[in-house]
């Protein structure tokens, strides 16, 4: 790949490859895309994301973009947001979407599953307190349903409420009359989506081929 000449050399790639599990070619492709998005700068900012045309139709665009700038997704125990990200963080965030490979052990699968669910959880939990409160959940549902023009905000609210109660009953079971349900913690979240085969569904097939020229 001739384009590699202008990109970080191999040693960096191998670092990244090890950390995230992508292959060299895939990292190369992603790097090209990074460059394309950031107009050849070193870092990506939010306004770069806003330029992506196809993303405009996505109802949860804001959350997706935020997810890239969220330190919690950077595989460290970071918190808070950043304003701009470099290529490494880009790839790390992308790596959440890798399909599970065949040779994974049960443990690794479980780990991948947790990671993916953690990613989703972070998308909800915007104030970073470790729980998804009703407000946050409502916000997400509203966004999701924002395409439905005829639907008012109230419905989204009700749906979110219903969902919260559902979580409550699943995780906490029977509740006393005077208990409150504080919010969905990550453990509850895991339990909630227990039957959901997220490790295979939340995947993107990362190509080894460069398709950036075909996309906007």
């Amino acid at each position: 790949m001739g384009a590699l000449q202008s990109l970080p050399g191999r040693p960096e790639y191998s670092d990244l490859a090890e950390k995230t599990g992508f292959s060299f070619e895939q990292i190369g492709v992603l790097h090209k895309r990074f460059k394309q998005l950031s107009h050849n700068e070193e870092t990506l900012r939010r306004d770069h994301f806003n330029e992506i045309h196809d993303l405009a139709f996505n109802p949860i665009r804001a959350q997706i973009i935020e997810a890239f700038f969220d330190r919690r997704n950077f595989h460290q125990d970071g918190e808070g947001k950043v304003q701009e990200i470099g290529f490494e963080e880009f790839v790390v965030v992308m790596s959440h979407f890798r399909p599970p490979s065949d040779h994974m052990t049960e443990e690794q699968r479980e780990k991948t599953r947790r990671e993916k669910l953690r990613f989703l959880f972070n998308m909800h939990d915007t104030d970073n307190d470790g729980t998804i409160t009703l407000e946050e959940y409502r916000h997400v549902v509203e966004e999701l349903l924002s395409r439905s023009g005829t639907l008012e905000k109230e419905t989204a609210k009700c749906i979110a409420d219903a969902a919260m109660l559902e979580v409550a009953s699943i995780s906490v079971g029977h509740m006393e009359p005077d208990e409150f349900y504080e919010g969905i913690t990550f453990e509850h979240f895991l339990k909630l989506l227990d039957g959901f085969e997220i490790e295979s569904r939340m995947t993107i097939r990362f190509l080894n081929m460069d398709t950036t020229t075909l996309c906007k």
Binding site: L145, T150, C158
Partner: protein, 808 residues
């Protein structure tokens, strides 16, 4: 039980006897070959025998004119006989678990055939080419296409096509060539079969028919991927087989085959396949467009569905392109749009009728297979037939192995060895092979041998593999499906995830299936829906699901313990609900509640369950899902509801579901692992593709029964309920809804001590302690109603919808 059984068997035998006697009373033994006529020849003197001829022209008191009615009469009797057989199987329900229905039907057919043979009768020759291909096959295929779970299908369409097309080709060519090799061995005495004929024969027997297999898979709930691949493969390889058959039979009659012919054959294959699809899509769109205008003629709406599909089939036959593909694609395209346009009742009718016709068709085919087995002249050749069996098995296994290896890298969820075993072992032969064998041209010298061999293969696979596949699958523990719980959360998160993935894909510039799905859905929403659907506002499936669940709750409440709609549900329960709300900081104000209630009431309208429970070919989609709800809200009701009591409405949906779990129990344990269909889960969760929305205001859904009027009768405003039988789809767009539950809602419900009352009770409009739950219209199918198991004393309303439709 025994008595019933004996009675059934007796009835069956009685009918048999009548049939045979009727045939026998003709007084002559027709010895025509089977393929000659549709029915045995008319009785020569079947006319009036009841009175002697030397009488003068008095008015006859008693006449009998059999020939006039003979044909329809005999058809009806045969159909009845086959249907009685089906009834009889379920007398001992254990039988159907271990022995697939096709086996049983064939056995009954064998018995009847033996009886007929012993009285030297001919079976009605229904298996002429025309009757089978023009009348029986389209029904079966239409049913398969209509009830195909679209989403898993499209996600796996590559795999399905790969296995269907390439797999069938591999099988036919492999078997054909090996058989040809065998033919060369003089010991078997079949040297006169040339290559073309062998290929023709192998095309016939490589058609896989998974009826039995699907039943087993469904019961054992194998993972969805396997299921959909087997299903799709069956469907499409019918098409491929027919194409191959036509091609090879043409070729078999040619003395010399040139390379040009092979090339033309390949080109023809593509024309046939793609042409079939094109026709199907065309007719599907025309059908959808037509139903857009049928709001005034609801009674004949189902007719359009059938006529257009059949037309697609026939036109494709006219041009000798793949009629099976045509009818499948027609059904697929049509279903989505038509189900939105037609009334609920028509929708149910369509489904029922399709299932019924397909069931009859399939039953008859297997039945006749049994009959004909006994009564044809067989030509048996040990070597050829045994080797056929062997090769059929071997090549299928090899084929699956090789093909899976090739396609696994392209799949996100690769097939493991157990899946492959399931796929390979599930290759039963059935109806299509049978019919094709019978329609072999007579110019083929060894036709009888082929027929015999086909029958042998079918019987062998159906009986042996069909019976043994269930224990084997359970034994090797093929990967089971993860039952996605139909919770709002799962729906929301699933949706969220899809959006996220689509977004990330856009971000990183990678294409994948979501990209195409996205594009198609945009196209769909922008253009297609506007044209084809009458009322094309979109509704998110999350909202649809939510509405559905709420309605179900409301139905539950109203319907359970029909005397129990008390006017004063306990305050405690409501209080609990209030508390249990997941708002940590703030309580719901009355105004809030009223708002919620208003919203809900405004938004809950035409809920039609669009998922189809695929329970195998002979089962109707579960009625629970096609239950309709007719909701008419009276303005007066709304007025009578007080703000304070509205908490109920919005709480009902929320709380009903999940509060009743006894502490510590997990959600899964409350659901028996009863049959759940794949179509259910996936259709519900993501039927309408993800960005599309549809909301239906002003179109009340309609229910189809009136049995549960009983609980409603006590409620003041129900005088109007009976009158909702009128087909008034175009009722005003005010929020009116009549509430009707469906008839067979007969599951036992633990009578709830405290019921949040239906708000239809006008009389209690003023009571403050009257917790009028404004029952959102819902018609939960009985199976959905939570089983009493998780009904706790405290929160009677709060039941988890039990996702166990009562299957037979």
């Amino acid at each position: 039980m025994n008595l019933v059984f004996i009675r059934q068997a007796g009835t069956l035998l009685f009918i048999c006897m009548i049939l045979i006697l009727l045939h026998g009373s003709r007084g002559e033994i027709p010895s025509k070959p089977i393929a000659a006529t549709i029915l045995p020849s008319v009785k020569p003197d079947g006319g009036v025998q009841a009175y002697p001829e030397d009488q003068k022209n008095n008015l006859p008191m008693f006449t009998m004119n059999y020939p006039r009615i003979q044909i329809p009469f005999e058809i009806t009797l045969w159909v009845l006989l086959a249907s009685f057989a089906k009834i009889g199987f379920h007398v001992y329900h254990k039988i159907t678990i271990w022995v697939p229905e096709s086996c049983l039907l064939i056995s009954i057919g064998l018995i009847v055939g033996a009886i007929m043979h012993s009285v030297h009768e001919e079976p009605p020759a229904v298996l002429t080419s025309n009757v089978f291909f023009l009348y029986m096959l389209p029904l079966i295929v239409l049913e398969s296409g209509y009830f195909m779970p679209t989403r898993p299908f499209f996600e796996n369409v590559g795999t399905v096509l790969w296995f269907a097309v390439v797999g069938t080709l591999w099988n036919s060519i492999g078997i054909g060539i090996s058989l040809f090799a065998i033919c060369q061995i003089p010991a078997f005495g079949v040297q006169d079969i040339n290559l073309q004929e062998n290929l023709l024969f192998s095309a016939i027997i490589s058609a896989v028919d998974p009826v039995a297999v699907l039943n087993v898979f469904e019961d054992v709930s194998v993972n969805e991927q396997l299921y959909i691949v087997v299903f799709g493969e069956c469907l499409f390889n019918d098409a491929v087989t027919v194409v191959l058959y036509n091609m090879f039979s043409f070729v078999a009659e040619m003395p010399v085959v040139e390379p040009v012919d092979v090339f033309i054959g390949v080109a023809r294959f593509f024309i046939v396949g793609l042409g079939g699809m094109a026709f199907g899509i065309l007719f599907g769109f025309v059908a959808a467009f037509t139903t857009r205008f049928t709001s005034k003629v609801r009674e004949i709406e189902p007719l359009f569905v059938f006529m257009y599909s059949y037309l697609a089939y026939l036109v494709a036959e006219l041009f000798a392109i793949s009629s099976i593909m045509a009818i499948i694609t027609c059904a697929l395209t049509m279903k989505y749009y038509v189900e939105e346009n037609v009334s609920q009742r028509s929708c149910t009718t369509i489904r029922h009728v399709i299932k019924m016709l397909a069931s009859i068709s399939e039953t008859l085919i297997f039945f006749f297979l049994g009959v004909v087995t006994i009564t044809t002249d067989h030509e048996w050749n040990w070597g050829y037939i045994l080797f056929t069996l062997l090769f059929a098995f071997v090549w299928r296994g090899l084929g699956i192995l090789v093909l899976t290896q090739i396609i696994n890298p392209f799949r996100t969820i690769p097939f493991n060895m157990k899946d492959q075993f399931g796929l390979a072992y599930g290759g039963l032969r059935g109806a299509v092979s049978f019919a094709l064998a019978f329609t072999l041209p007579d110019t083929i010298g060894r036709k009888q041998l082929f027929v015999t061999a086909t029958i042998a293969v079918i019987l062998f696979t159906v009986f042996l593999q069909g019976i043994s596949i269930r224990p084997l699958i359970e034994f090797i523990n093929v990967r089971r499906t993860n039952r996605n719980l139909e919770t709002i959360n799962v729906e929301i998160h699933g949706r969220l995830m899809e959006h996220t993935i689509a977004g990330i894909e856009d971000l990183c510039g990678q294409w994948s299936r979501f990209y195409w799905k996205d594009k198609f859905m945009k196209f769909n929403n922008r253009i297609l829906r506007k044209i084809l659907i009458r009322d094309s506002r979109a509704e998110s499936s999350i909202v649809a699901l939510y509405k559905k669940l709420e309605l179900q709750n409301a139905m539950e409440i109203l319907d359970t313990a029909s005397g129990d709609i008390s006017a004063a549900p306990s305050i405690v329960s409501l209080y609990e609900e209030k508390k249990s709300s997941s708002k940590p900081q703030k309580k719901f104000l009355a105004a809030d509640l009223k708002n919620m209630h208003d919203i809900l009431s405004k938004n809950m309208y035409k809920i039609r369950e669009r998922t189809v429970a695929y329970r195998g070919k002979h089962a109707l989609p579960n009625d629970n899902h096609t239950r309709e709800i007719l909701i008419r809200r009276h303005v007066s009701i709304r007025r009578s509801l007080r703000p304070g009591s509205f908490q109920s409405s919005s709480y009902v949906p929320r709380t009903h579901k999940y509060f009743s779990l006894p502490a510590g129990k997990s959600l899964e344990s409350t659901f028996p692992a009863a049959r759940r269909s794949y179509a259910d889960d996936h259709e519900t969760l993501s039927e309408v593709a993800y960005p599309s929305q549809r909301s239906r205001f002003g179109k009340p859904a309609r229910s189809s029964s009136s049995k549960a009027m009983i609980p409603l009768r006590r409620l003041g405003t129900l005088e109007e309920v009976p009158s909702t039988d009128v087909l008034n789809e175009d009722s005003s767009s005010t929020e009116q809804g009549v509430f009707r539950t469906n008839s067979s809602y007969s599951d036992s419900h633990v009578p709830r001590p405290r019921r949040l009352n239906s708000s239809f009770d006008n009389n209690n409009g003023s009571a403050d302690d009257l917790r009028n739950v404004h029952e959102e219209p819902s018609s939960p199918p009985p199976g959905w109603a939570a089983e009493p198991r998780d009904n706790t004393a405290r929160n009677p309303l709060l039941r988890r919808p039990q996702w166990t439709p009562k299957r037979k």
